[in-house]
């Protein structure tokens, strides 16, 4: 708990004003995006910006949902991000547990995992594409959950390692003494303790995978294409189709926001638990 001296009303007010000003900077563009998705084409560029005072229409949403592949792409994205989160958490948490508890050249491994994250994805794209094509994985549902591991597993390992570091060793030792197997200890003792961390990491992995663009354009063609690709296809050679673009982008913010809202409590507590240690 942050302990502070009783601030004067004026100071507090000014702080709140700063916060709200900051907030307006950060959400105004998103607000514009959402309101534009309900506009007719002619209203989108009008100045001053019409945030609320315009003739609203659902035509953009109807067009996106009925005549484009966006709904199917949304399912693809959900599957991709969901499967990737499950895989990343599984693989990453095991590795983090191993590094945290077994001290196997932990430092250099950690650095190596960080190095993977540093690798520009565009570098890996061409050779990986050759391999994926040889294995007939290009444009299948499997490929994106797998290649997104490149960015999410290192993140998971770093996050989860710091969470696991905070679990007192004695808890595990005593369970081991009682004759539990390593697996049981991990599942019954450690996992429940780090659940908030798992949730927080999972939400961020979901957002990363949900929004990923570069690898998705390279590794999918039509069956497994994801939302960011579909949204960017409204940027046509001749014009940007702002109506469907804003409508589909608005729809695309819903799942991550819903996730963040559902796990709101976990999100903050989870991060707290992991990132700051004595």
């Amino acid at each position: 708990m942050l302990k502070r001296k009783r601030a004067g009303g004026l100071v507090r007010l000014s702080q709140q004003v700063v916060l709200l000003l900051g907030l307006s900077f950060f959400i105004f563009p998103v607000f514009w995006l959402i309101s534009s998705s309900f506009k007719h084409d002619v209203d989108i560029f009008s100045l001053p910006v019409k945030l609320l005072a315009f003739q609203p229409t659902l035509a953009n949403f109807a067009r996106v949902l009925e005549t484009t592949t966006i709904p199917r792409l949304a399912l693809n994205s959900l599957f991709t991000a969901g499967a990737n989160v499950v895989l990343s958490l599984l693989i990453g948490t095991l590795a983090a547990y191993g590094i945290s508890r077994r001290h196997i050249r932990g430092q250099s491994l950690l650095l190596w995992f960080l190095g993977v994250r540093m690798f520009p994805p565009i570098v890996a794209a061409v050779p990986l594409f050759m391999v994926a094509a040889a294995l007939r994985l290009v444009d299948t549902g499997l490929i994106l959950p797998i290649v997104h591991l490149l960015m999410n597993v290192p993140f998971t390992i770093w996050m989860m390692k710091s969470f696991i570091d905070d679990v007192p060793l004695e808890v595990e030792e005593s369970a081991l003494m009682d004759g539990c197997s390593h697996w049981t200890v991990l599942r019954r003792v450690v996992l429940p303790l780090i659940r908030p961390g798992l949730v927080a990491t999972g939400v961020f992995c979901f957002i990363f995978s949900w929004n990923e663009f570069l690898l998705a354009t390279v590794f999918t063609q039509r069956v497994a294409t994801t939302l960011p690709i579909g949204i960017s296809s409204f940027v046509t050679k001749e014009q940007i189709l702002w109506g469907p673009l804003t409508a589909s982008a608005t729809l695309a913010t819903l799942p991550p926001m819903a996730l963040a809202w559902i796990f709101n409590r976990y999100l903050v507590r989870g991060l707290t638990f992991g990132a700051v240690k004595p």
């Binding site: 007719h40 084409d41 002619v42 560029f45 061409v126 594409f129 050759m130 391999v131 994926a132 094509a133 040889a134 007939r136 290009v138 444009d139 354009t217 390279v218 063609q221 039509r222 690709i229 960017s232 296809s233 409204f234 940027v235 046509t236 050679k237 001749e238 014009q239 940007i240 189709l241």
Partner: protein, 465 residues
């Protein structure tokens, strides 16, 4: 050892035969003719057309549906952002993925497709009896356009007869101006109506008048963003100042020539026009130019004709009634017009080339050309340009044919995409204030090196500039 290992890994990639084997092949002769005396039944066959979303796409998609209905084939139209197409076609072909039957591409990418072996020579296909459309009317295409969009003469392929592709989207650089603004600023011809500038000098003078008369408006706007837009805008200017036609950039050996006097004069002219354009015009691509025009904020603009239907559509444009069209201005050496555009070709790893070839003819043949144009497509056929209804709806069509007579183009060899980037970057630098002669000379050196590195031989024409 590493080389071997990598080679092995690449060799291990199974060829298209692996997957294609699943489909049972029926001999072409056994497929009954179902339409027009040439279109055969393709039930059970899937064709994949890779293209970008644009003004043509809706019309083409509808025609693909017609093709499905008539022949029983299944046509998948993959629309992607046009900037991703080249990379996707190349990597998919390299991985022998066999994903595309028909590919569409900008002619400036031609070298990558032809030298890379991505395309089949259509000449044999059109000469064949079993699949060709007898009423296709190749001669109906504007010859100069077919030459640029269909044949490839740079680089390693010197077969002048080979036809690698046919026009998919016809694009000519045009000028758009606001008749109302020109008239009220007194820029009028002898007939009392708005007079668009015929030369770049006139444009500069008109820009001054417009700037004085309408201080709140942008007198002139052109696509000058780095790369493609910058180079496309520069093209008609340099050629009207005496740059070589049709290719002012370099000669047959890719020896640069844009750094000479015409090039210097041309970029100087653009530099003089800069104060009359938006301050951030170096961020303007075609779309931004079009929006500024459509919003009624500019008096004069240059753009590809494929963008013009938007300006004529009252639901998207505030100037639908007042916009007029003209050729891009000229200079001492006439009034050459820049040619852009997209071609469609038959992929050499197509799994169903026979059906794909018939679809290609169905989409680009004479019979549906007018219909395609009326739906907003851009077609390089005389039959379309001479059609009253088309010209009534899209009044700029005659300009396009006229312009194609004295058309100038960008490069199409394999190093063009690199060279275009180099030139675009350096021209931008000049517009930001660098010395034109010096920078152009350095650019010519870079282009020389790039051509050499790509395997061409500019040294045949002369020493490094």
């Amino acid at each position: 050892m590493l080389r071997k290992l990598v080679g092995l890994l690449i060799l291990l990639a199974p060829g298209p035969g692996f997957a294609a084997g699943q489909q049972e092949k029926i001999a072409v002769a056994d497929r009954p003719i179902v339409y027009g005396g040439w279109l055969r039944s393709w039930s059970g066959v899937e064709i994949v057309l890779s293209t970008h979303l644009g003004s043509n796409s809706d019309a083409y998609k509808q025609m693909c549906l017609d093709f499905e209905r008539i022949t029983g084939a299944r046509v998948t139209v993959l629309e992607e952002s046009w900037t991703d197409l080249l990379g996707k076609h190349l990597s998919s072909f390299a991985a022998r993925n066999g994903a595309y039957d028909l590919v569409t591409f900008f002619y400036g990418w031609f070298g990558h497709y032809v030298e890379g072996g991505l395309l089949q020579n259509l000449k044999q296909w059109f000469a064949g009896q079993q699949l060709a459309d007898p009423h296709y009317a190749m001669e109906d295409f504007i010859p100069a356009v077919l030459e640029v969009y269909g044949r490839y003469k740079a680089g390693f392929y010197k077969d002048p007869d080979a036809l690698w592709a046919v026009p998919y989207k016809f694009d000519v650089y045009t000028a758009q101006y606001r008749a109302d603004l020109f008239e009220s600023a007194g820029i009028i011809g002898p007939d009392g109506r708005a007079r668009p500038p015929a030369t770049w000098k006139e444009l500069l003078a008109d820009a001054r008048i417009l700037a004085d008369r309408f201080p709140d408006l942008t007198p002139v706007v052109m696509p000058l963003a780095v790369d493609d837009p910058m180079v496309s805008t520069y093209l008609p200017v340099i050629c009207s100042y005496g740059g070589a036609k049709p290719n002012p950039w370099y000669d047959a050996h890719l020896y640069p020539r844009f750094q000479k006097e015409p090039g210097v004069l041309a970029i100087r002219m653009l530099k003089q026009l800069m104060p009359f354009m938006p301050p951030d015009v170096l961020n303007y691509d075609y779309d931004r130019v079009n929006i500024l025009m459509a919003q009624g904020k500019a008096a004069y603009a240059l753009n590809w004709n494929a963008h013009l239907p938007v300006l004529l559509d009252p639901s998207k444009s505030k100037i639908a009634g007042t916009v007029r069209f003209d050729h891009t201005p000229g200079g001492v050496e006439g009034r050459p017009q820049g040619l852009g555009g997209w071609s469609i070709g038959l992929s050499s790893d197509s799994r169903n080339p026979e059906a794909a070839f018939q679809l290609l003819q169905f989409l680009t043949g004479r019979k549906r050309a007018v219909e395609l144009a009326l739906k907003g497509g851009s077609v390089a056929r005389f039959s379309v340009v001479n059609d009253q209804e088309v010209v009534k709806r899209y009044p700029y069509y005659p300009l396009l044919v006229e312009g194609a007579k004295d058309a100038v183009a960008r490069g199409s060899d394999r190093s063009w995409t690199e060279i275009q980037r180099i030139i675009g970057v350096e021209l931008n630098k000049i517009l930001l204030g660098a010395d034109e002669r010096q920078v152009l000379l350095e650019t010519a050196r870079k282009v020389f090196d790039a051509a050499q590195e790509a395997g061409y031989d500019p040294a045949k024409s002369g020493p490094r500039p």
